[in-house]
Symmetry: none
Amino acid sequence: MSERRRSPTRQQAILDAAAALVEELGYENCTIEGVARRAGAGKQTIYRWWASKPALFVELYQLLVAREAVAARYADPRRELEVTLAAVFRHLTDTVAGAVLRGLIADATHDEVARAAINSELVFGRRDILLGPLRRAAAAGTRDWAPEEMLEMLVAVIWKTLILEPDALNDALAARLAALVLGPVDDS
Amino acid sequence: MSERRRSPTRQQAILDAAAALVEELGYENCTIEGVARRAGAGKQTIYRWWASKPALFVELYQLLVAREAVAARYADPRRELEVTLAAVFRHLTDTVAGAVLRGLIADATHDEVARAAINSELVFGRRDILLGPLRRAAAAGTRDWAPEEMLEMLVAVIWKTLILEPDALNDALAARLAALVLGPVDDS
Amino acid sequence: MSERRRSPTRQQAILDAAAALVEELGYENCTIEGVARRAGAGKQTIYRWWASKPALFVELYQLLVAREAVAARYADPRRELEVTLAAVFRHLTDTVAGAVLRGLIADATHDEVARAAINSELVFGRRDILLGPLRRAAAAGTRDWAPEEMLEMLVAVIWKTLILEPDALNDALAARLAALVLGPVDDS
Amino acid sequence: MSERRRSPTRQQAILDAAAALVEELGYENCTIEGVARRAGAGKQTIYRWWASKPALFVELYQLLVAREAVAARYADPRRELEVTLAAVFRHLTDTVAGAVLRGLIADATHDEVARAAINSELVFGRRDILLGPLRRAAAAGTRDWAPEEMLEMLVAVIWKTLILEPDALNDALAARLAALVLGPVDDS
DNA sequence: TGGTAATCGAGACGGTACGTCCCGTCTTAAG
DNA sequence: CTTAAGACGGGACGTACCGTCTCGATTACCA
């Protein structure tokens, strides 16, 4: 409420520093102290605007997700799902977003801010991206399943892969997941 | 030539202390220093046998999983899967195993020991528990899906739930997941 | 550009704690950790301002020496020397200065900071105290000797006594040393 | 009293290792643990025969001193004293004896074993070496001084030099000290 | 436009834990 | 029964960050 004179310049410098450090050192080696040094900011300035490390990176993640382009639509539901998944994977792999999300998931195991954010963040940032294609696929498909439940499952699999083998987030996995949802390809 | 003669008494005291502290403070507030203090051990004794905090808790998790009873078999595949899932959930909820696994998943985001262990550990400790029922369900069911892929998906969903809302690991979720795998109940 | 703003209060508390611990436990049982605990300070605060244990005690010794009163002057050179030596001995015996100096001498065997300091410290803190009386005694005496060389010798004997039998630093020794320098008393 | 089966081989290996480590690392970096490793001995074996690090090095010092040759006698007392001092200095400088003695002096500031030994050790090992020349010099000289007191002083100066500037233990110092005792050279 | 108050960098501070070293005691297995 | 080997409880080391705090030096709003 009293966030009156928050300098956008400073805030941006801090978020940029955070992104750079995650890239260089990884999320868990990224400290508030290091971000402050890198940003040329005082620690207090960071603590003034963000309550904790997870809070800072939640905001960073939101910024990164906001830049994510929405995938195009295709006539073929399977193809649309596949392309969308591949785009999501590329975003996680090519930017720091993947490393940040992985760190936030780790934090969510004990940090309330991260846990709360990770749920709602996905709603605005990413969930809708997948939900559209899933709904169209469900409508067109022969199997009956709830798009929301399938979304949960896909997100879970993506997270698990992000944690255990981030390099596996590639086009092949996109195809495999689409098949898992819609049945094998020769399902003409 | 001569083996490292490690005192079984001490090892057990340390693992017990680790389990107790996870219960009291949670995984992330559990420190090597604290475990040593609680166990009446020197820190060096811990570092002698375990390279890091994740390494220690991997061993603890193995012990906990070893005590897990195998679920009974049922004629009805759906019921067997449901009961097995419920048993797994109860093990995660009623013992420290859930908290330890959650911590190890968090560590796996940046620690190689945890990442490697979490894959193979599950193989021996937990994966087979679910794989049997899944295979029997697949054989009996009308839908065609690979039990191994379905297992991956189930594990992913369990992990995600363990992280975001551990209390949701209950019988209702077991039923929901069985339905997700085998189709709705009214599938007579 | 900006000076390190060190809190005088904290510095004093740390030096006081160091002095108290030397008194209680002796120099070699006095640890940085213990000083920090006693002073209610963080270890880092000590390491921030002093590079090592010897560096800390060098500063403490300077403080102690600064409080040492300069001995009075007497018409009789022998008496002046004797009284001055006795005063120096009392300072070493009655305050922690003796214990600190003994510890610093021990450190000087392997620590460069202690070695360097112990030379220059004495120059400002103690050497002049003895040099004046020695010069006047040399001028008045019949024997010819260099006050500077005699000072070295006296300091050496004092150190050796401080190490091997600190209790022997008393008035009797002051008289014996004065005699050693100026010849026997019955030298009318 | 119960030193029944002390193996001379083992003992010698330990003392040799101690000497080697002092040479390599310096006295204060020389640990019982390191000596045991180097000697291929168990720590217990060392503690069985020596109560502490100082006790071990006191024995090593005795061995080193025992090998010290007694200086030759000269007609000129000044020359005899000078040559003897130079020989003593060379022994301290060329062998580990100097480093060991320096360490023992440091230990003597707080260790009773070292303190006691350093007094009596010198009696047998070194004190007599200087006392003979001093007595002859006193008898031949014109000044009256007690050889024992002069010895104390010389020892003190040697120690102080050994601690503060070991490299200064050379022939020039031997000449200076002889002059301090016997008066300037042109004192014919 | 000049005063004044919040914000800034810098980093000191009390703490906690890290992972390492060595202490002196102990336990074990081989000789 | 003595070894070597080294595990053990313990204490201190010196370092890294935590989150709070105190400084002057900007900076930006308001009178």
